[in-house]
Every structure is written in C-alpha cells, then in structure tokens.
C-alpha cells in the first residue's frame, strides 16, 4: 500500500474521565479523521488510560486507541491482559505507550519485553472452537514465556489471547523516550531526535503550515503529525478542518490498525507473523 499520512493526538484532560465529556470528544476525534488518540501523556495522566480505552472501544469505529501506561505503577501481566481484551473489543485498534517517568532506568523497556513475550506465548492460530469434535484450542500453540528481565519475572502463559494486532501498536515519545529498537510509531522530540520506529510523527501545533508538512511527508522526512491537545473539544474540529485533507484519501479505509497504517509487526518483536484469528463457529 502507499505510505499513509498519519494524524495523531494526545489528550490528558481530567474532564475526559466522565462520560458527558468523553463521548463528544471521541466523536470529534473520529470526525476529524484522527488515526490515533493517545490518552494521557508524560507528566499528565489524570485518569487510568487503559480503562478509558475499553470504554471508548464500542463507541468508536475507526479511531486508534492508545493507552499511556506508567512503568512505575503497572505490571506486565495485567497490562498484557487488558490490552489483549481491548484489542478484541475494538477489533484491532489498540496501541500503548509506556511512560518511563518516575520509574527506575530500564523498567519501561522491561515492561515492553515482558508483555511482548506474553503475547507471543499464544500462536495466531491457537483457537479451533470445533463444537462437534469438542476441540476448543490447539495446546501445542500455547507456551510459557518464562520471561526474566531486570524488574519483571513472568512465567506465563498469559490467560488472555494473543491480540488481533499480534502486538498493539507501540508508540514511543521522543520527549520521554524508552530504549526499544523497534517501536511502531515514534513521536519526534523537541530536540528533533526521532525514536527508532517504523513511522515517525512530527509534533506540531494547530497553526502548523499544512503545505510544508505535506512536503516533508513527500520527502520521507516524516510519516505524519501529532498534536498535544489542551482543549480537545474545541481543537479537534479545527484539526479536521485544517489537516483533514492529508488523510482524506483513507477516511473510508477499513481493517485493523496495522492493515490501515501499513504496519507489520516488527520481526524482532514477535515470533508470530500476525495477529490472533478467531475461527467462525460451525
């Protein structure tokens, strides 16, 4: 597929924690054509993003839902399970970004390693669901991960399936980076340094020059843009108006987030080629 221009934003307003504000913000994000909405960010996580992701899943249809996960207050077994569930509920629209702030050096990377090992403990084609033969799954496709890192030691197997995306998209923020070689999305930091990632997004403000961004995209310098929202309900329609043309060619694109954004699972990150498949039940 052609390389898509990716439109992304992060939001960390306390008001997003209640349904009266969250529902219109999610509608506005979808209407603006956003590919990714990151909930919370470094220095501002006024809500549990994983919980809000689950709530957003059934009332959105195309928005990529990215949870910030604080390395200092999470365990990979729980995180891997929650993101697996949300990826099923959203039919493959889940991402995560581990925030290293406040945690010892290396803990965020360890979280990523452990969660990936747990997701890889289930094969893509584990489920059989054959009622007539009484076969629910193929046990040879399930393995203990026996992950041992500097902070986390997790035996597995996870009691959750491999997600439909295989791994949820991993987003790394250049302004609070973690050291993984193969993230899916990197947000270029204020110093201009791009995290090692398949796609790199420039952090821009709402008054950025659209033509200039389009040129940088065409030159292969960037793969899209990321906005840091401060008043989402007011800003999202403006993003749609000013930047919507950059994603207009894909507004009706369907399929899971990796398919839509042309992002295979990084080979170094997985021993499985794809995401989990749920067989149609006979």
């Amino acid at each position: 597929m052609t390389r898509p221009f990716i439109l992304s934003a992060s939001l960390a307003e306390a008001a997003f924690a209640v349904p009266q504000s969250a529902a219109p913000i999610l509608q506005a994000a979808e209407a603006a054509g956003l590919d990714l909405l990151m909930m919370g960010r470094s220095g501002a996580r006024p809500f549990d993003a994983q919980v809000l992701l689950a709530w957003a899943a059934p009332i959105t249809t195309r928005l990529g839902l990215v949870a910030t996960v604080p390395a200092s207050n999470a365990h990979p077994f729980h995180v891997a399970r929650a993101l697996s569930a949300i990826d099923f509920l959203s039919a493959g629209r889940t991402g995560w970004s581990v925030i290293p702030e406040g945690s010892p050096d290396g803990m965020a990377e360890d979280m990523v390693g452990a969660a990936r090992a747990l997701w890889d403990g289930w094969g893509s084609d584990t489920l059989i669901l054959d009622k007539a033969r009484g076969r629910y799954l193929d046990a040879s496709k399930v393995r203990a991960s026996n992950y041992e890192g500097p902070f986390f030691k997790v035996a597995g197997p996870l009691n959750a399936m491999r997600p439909p995306l295989g791994h949820p998209l991993l987003v790394v923020d250049g302004d609070d980076p973690i050291d993984v070689a193969d993230a899916d999305i990197g947000l270029i930091g204020a110093d201009g340094a791009a995290p090692a990632a398949t796609r790199r997004l420039a952090k821009v403000s709402l008054d950025a020059d659209v033509a200039a961004l389009s040129n940088r995209f065409a030159a292969g310098e960037i793969d899209g843009v990321h906005f840091t929202l401060t008043d989402a309900l007011a800003q999202l329609p403006e993003i749609g108006t000013r930047f919507g043309s950059l994603v207009a060619d894909r507004i009706d694109a369907t399929g899971d987030l990796r398919a839509r954004l042309g992002l295979p699972i990084p080979q170094t990150a997985s021993n499985q080629p794809g995401g989990a498949v749920v067989p149609e039940n006979a």
Partner: protein, 409 residues
C-alpha cells in the same frame, strides 16, 4: 414498598457454568472475543433488571502440570476491560470486576476502579479476592503464594489504602458518583468470612440447598452485627445455575444432554485442573493414580486426598471418576425444572432468609441467560418480587444502599 425483593446478579465469566457448555448449540464460543457479544449480553442483563454483571477472574492460565487443556473454554479476557466496555452501551446495570489484592498495589486498584467508577457514572463494584491458586505466583516473580492468613491481612491493608485513595480522588474531582466502588467478597474460611463481614456490601457464596443458604446468611449477618455494621446493609447472593424446560422431565433431559456433550477427555482435563496434576497421560479405564496425584499436585494435599481417596478405595476407574466429578456442581445449586418452579424456588429461598437474591451462573452463554430473562424474569415481576425499572443510576441505589458511601478516612 417491594418487600422481599429478589436481587439478581449475572456471573458471566467464560461460556457458561458447565465445562461442556461451550459445545451447546446455543453457545457462542467465538462471541467472547467480540464486542457484539458483550453489548448483547449487557443489554440482556439490563432488560432482566439485574443489579449487576460480575466477571470472575484468575491470574493464571488454565491447565495442570504445564499442560494447557484443549477441550475447556479459555482464556478469559480482563474483566475490568470487558465491564467498562459494557458500561459504554448500558445505563443502569452494575459492573463488578474481580481483582486480586495479592497481586496489585493499592495505587493500581484505586486508579483502575476510580476510572471505572467515573466513566460508568457510578456503577462500579469490586469483587475482592486474595487469589488462591499456586500457579499465579510465578506470573508475578514469586515461587509460592503467601499463606491464607497473610493474604487476608494484606487484603485488609490494601482495601483500607485504596479507600483512602478514592476519598482523595473524590475530593480532587471529578467526583466518584458512589464515593467509591461497591465492595463485594466471597470468603468461606474463618479468615475469609471475617474479612467479608468487616468489608463487603455484597457477598457471593455457594449454597447447594436452602438450608445451606440459611446457615451461611445467618452466620454472615451475625458476624456483620458483631463488627458493628448493619446486617441489612449487606446483600448475600448465593450462586445459582439452571436448566429450564416446559416440564421437569424436559429440563432433566436437557441437563443430561449438556453433560453428555462432554467426553472422557474433557472430564479428565477438568479433573486435572481441579486436582492440580496432569492426568491426561493415564488410562481412563485404569485405577485413579493416587500416589502420583499426591506427589505432584500443587494444591493443598489434604484437600486433594479427601477428594480422591473414597473413589480410589471403591476401585472406580479414572475415567468414570472424572465424568462423575465434572457432573458435580461445585457446591452450587443447579435448578432443573419449569420457569414457574424456578420462580417458586427463588421466592421460597428469599422468604426463608436463605439469601437476598441470586448470582445466576447460566449453564451456557448466551442461551442460558436468554432463557432466564425471557422465561423467569417476567414471572418474578408479576409476583412483585423483581423490579420493573431501576430505582436510580448508581449500583448502590440499585442495591438499595445509600446512594453515596460516606467515605470515612
């Protein structure tokens, strides 16, 4: 106004109460991986005027001795995520997630449930468990579970700390509509019942018959009174499964048909998990390998010996023992009969003080829940024992408790 109202909770982990339930023609094993299924089931529970949907939870994968079963429904998805997604497509039904105090920090718990409480508009509940399966420990960097008294000691501290954190979140805003989530528990041991009496606003238990229900509820209400709480502020909700039919014979035949979906191989996988020892390499026609079981089990050996010794002494073959074990309803009441008979039974339990309501565990999903909502709910409503609309919006109001917990520090 409605005296002796029956409370209903739906316990929906997995694909139903019976291990063979997923194979039933009206089960949807693929559904538990899709939002459509959860939306449909949540709306059904709301249509049936259930107080709440509960998802149980474990922190270890199913199986025994490192072998993953092939014939049992698994895995189960994260309950907080499932219930929060269900909150987005419903208005009234409460959402009770099972989460462990042994493998979460108070900060993690307060954040997750605080977020769930806010975004659901005050419908969150926490089924507090201390996690009893030894295979959990290696998923959290430990070799062994802490002993039970230590787990309950920690549970007490964790809940107290989480309550402090919720009080702070509530002050900071946005407010938590109920002050904090409703606290639910299912302790059976002395430590467990004591903890439930001090902490819980609703309690699950197994009760195979009406007398067991009366015993449990009287015991818990007495314990609640001893610690200075109001026994009427606690809902006791024994488990209840059912197979319905147009006549009693029809219901019995349907029950037998569900059990008959299971073969020896499924029964042995189920037994292996229950005994904490992989028995799949053994001949189903041969004797129960008691020595191997007691040598290898990771569960308390005395309990396991009690479970297998009588059958071993009677020379029951392994396969027959496993098949019989699986038919045993884990101490829960399994009702077989007509919808009218079921409503009668439920009303008689309620009137005898055996419960405040029931935790329905449908035999297979979603068919079992559909049958109950379509066939039994209207009868309970006609008899004035089940509400026809929700009294408010929060779970606390639905339970008939004060709308907002006065959060004491």
């Amino acid at each position: 106004m409605m005296d002796k109202q029956i409370h209903l909770w739906a316990f929906l982990q997995g694909i139903g109460f019976f291990p063979s339930g997923w194979m039933h023609e009206r089960a949807r094993p693929e559904g538990v991986f899709s939002m459509d299924y959860y939306a449909r089931v949540a709306k059904l529970a709301e249509q049936g005027m259930f107080d709440a949907i509960v998802f149980g939870d474990q922190l270890q994968s199913r199986g025994a001795g490192g072998r993953t079963p092939e014939r049992m429904a698994m895995p189960t998805l994260d309950p907080v995520s499932l219930l929060t997604a269900m909150a987005a497509v419903t208005k009234h039904v409460g959402l009770v997630a099972t989460v462990s105090t042994s493998y979460n920090t108070p900060e993690m718990l307060a954040e997750r449930f605080g977020a769930m409480e806010r975004i659901s508009g005050g419908r969150a509940g926490w089924n507090i468990v201390t996690t009893a399966h030894p295979a959990t420990a290696p998923n959290f960097g430990d070799n062994d579970l802490p002993p039970k008294d230590e787990r309950y000691r920690r549970a007490k501290e964790v809940v107290a700390k989480a309550c402090e954190l919720w009080a702070a979140m509530d002050r900071e805003g946005p407010m938590l509509p109920q002050g904090r989530p409703v606290l639910v528990q299912a302790g059976q041991s002395a430590d467990g019942r004591d903890f439930a009496a001090r902490t819980a606003e609703a309690i699950f238990c197994p009760a195979a018959n009406i007398d067991a229900g009366i015993d449990f509820r009287s015991d818990l209400r007495a314990r609640v009174a001893v610690v200075g709480r109001d026994p009427d502020g606690v809902r006791i909700m024994p488990g209840l499964s059912c197979v319905l039919g147009g006549s009693e014979e029809e219901a019995r035949a349907s029950h037998a048909a569900i059990l008959d979906l299971a073969d020896d191989a499924l029964a042995i996988e189920y037994l292996s998990e229950s005994l904490g020892c992989d028995l799949t390499p053994f001949d189903p026609q041969g004797e129960i390998p008691v020595t191997t079981i007691l040598e290898h089990t990771i569960l308390p050996k005395a309990d396991i010996a009690r479970a297998v010794t009588p059958a071993h002494e009677k020379r029951t073959p392994l396969g027959a023992f496993a098949a019989n074990f699986m038919r045993h309803p884990r101490g829960h009441n399994v009702f077989l009969g007509t919808p009218e008979q079921m409503a009668d039974m439920m009303i008689s339990w309620r009137d005898a003080g055996a419960c405040d309501g029931f935790t329905l565990q449908p035999s297979y999903m979603p068919g079992g829940l559909e049958d109950f909502v379509e066939q039994v709910v209207p009868i309970l409503q006609q008899r004035g024992r089940l509400r026809t609309e929700y009294p408010g919006t929060t779970l606390r109001e639905t339970l008939g408790l004060p709308a907002r917990e006065a959060v004491a520090a």
